[in-house]
Symmetry: C2
Subunit: 187 residues, 2 copies
DNA sequence: TTTATTTCTAAGCATTTGCTTAGAATTGGG
DNA sequence: CCCAATTCTAAGCAAATGCTTAGAAATAAA
């Protein structure tokens, strides 16, 4: 038949994800993607259709990547203590060679707001709800919590994660730890 | 002498601020500023030097604007209850005709990260610390709180404000209220 | 080896970006 | 009224943006 692809799509998406993560969506140009992914624009467009298409694949890849730490929480049986551990795990997860990058999804929600591509925005909001459900399931492990309490605390913790993601970019490690410890008092 | 300016600098900056607030820094072009401010590019550049310059003035203007609600907290003497009220005041403050816009400063920190203009980033971080000091001063009004507790809770509340700013863009009013109520339990 | 098919390179497209500038319009002081 | 000072308009600059395309290079099946 013909020539075979000289790059692995998963691998180049992984690289693209890092670039979007560090720079945001709009501040990442196709030229930058070319360099980082190590393939030509033609290859990018024939594989992923558009810059938007590349980004959507990156979000999928990000979800897989963060599964490494959500999985720990899913399997743990420590109730709210497991969620606190997840907060610490996230800080480690989002650590870069030079500082923290926050959460890719959170960053993008903030950057694009309601002006972003609807498909992307739907993807991002669904991620927020997945995290909230994850937290709710952990909270159920704690006995003597009403359904209403679980609901509210899951909502509170998911929103606190947004704050942590943002704060990780400007606060010191000690301040971040203080935040987590205070956030979990009396839950 | 000569012709006099046909626009008021404070007024046009107010308009520019609204645009940056809704769209973010990078997604606001000089052409868009032209339209919104109602003046020509020449006027923009002769008055403010650069797009960066316009934005810096907008940050100043934003600080003045938000002083409307920080002032309430400064003058109140209700300790942590005053801070909770500030959270609600902020939601009202950041309300737009079509939804919430979050906090301009928070949005920009998240968007530009460490890649932004250093002068802007310094300005933004100082704002975060001002809010934290404001919270700490209110917490001092509550008796029987140690200095260490005040420090940690101020840090916690300032970080929670980051979360609230972000969450205001994607959560319902009810969810936001739940978040605030839960965040202030046992403080 | 030939050939059909797909991937690759690299140049180029129109549009938008932040910013500049030449010259016309305006307006105050003499 | 005149003229010098300052504003305005509008055109234009180079560079960067997302995306396309013509043609060379590679390769699997015949």
């Amino acid at each position: 038949m013909a020539r075979s692809k000289q790059y692995n799509e998963e691998e180049v998406i992984e690289k693209a994800m890092g670039l979007f993560w560090r720079n945001g969506y709009e501040n990442t140009s196709v030229r930058m993607l070319e360099k980082e992914m190590g393939i030509n624009q033609f290859s990018i467009y024939s594989s992923f259709g558009s810059k938007n298409g590349v980004f959507l694949e990156c979000i999928k890849s990000y979800k897989k990547k963060i599964h490494r730490i959500t999985e720990i929480l899913e399997k743990s049986n420590n109730g709210v203590a497991g969620i606190k551990q997840y907060f610490y795990d996230f800080l480690e997860f989002s650590k870069d060679d030079n500082g923290k990058k926050g959460c890719l999804v959170t960053n993008t929600v903030n950057e694009l707001g309601e002006h972003g591509d609807p498909i992307i925005m739907t993807e991002l909001k669904s991620f927020f709800n997945e995290i909230k459900t994850l937290f709710a399931n952990s909270l159920k492990q704690d006995k003597n919590k009403t359904q209403e309490t679980i609901e509210k605390q899951a909502n509170y913790l998911a929103t606190s994660m947004l704050g942590l993601s943002l704060a990780s970019k400007i606060l010191s490690g000690e301040q971040l730890e203080d935040f987590i410890e205070t956030a979990f008092i009396n839950l």
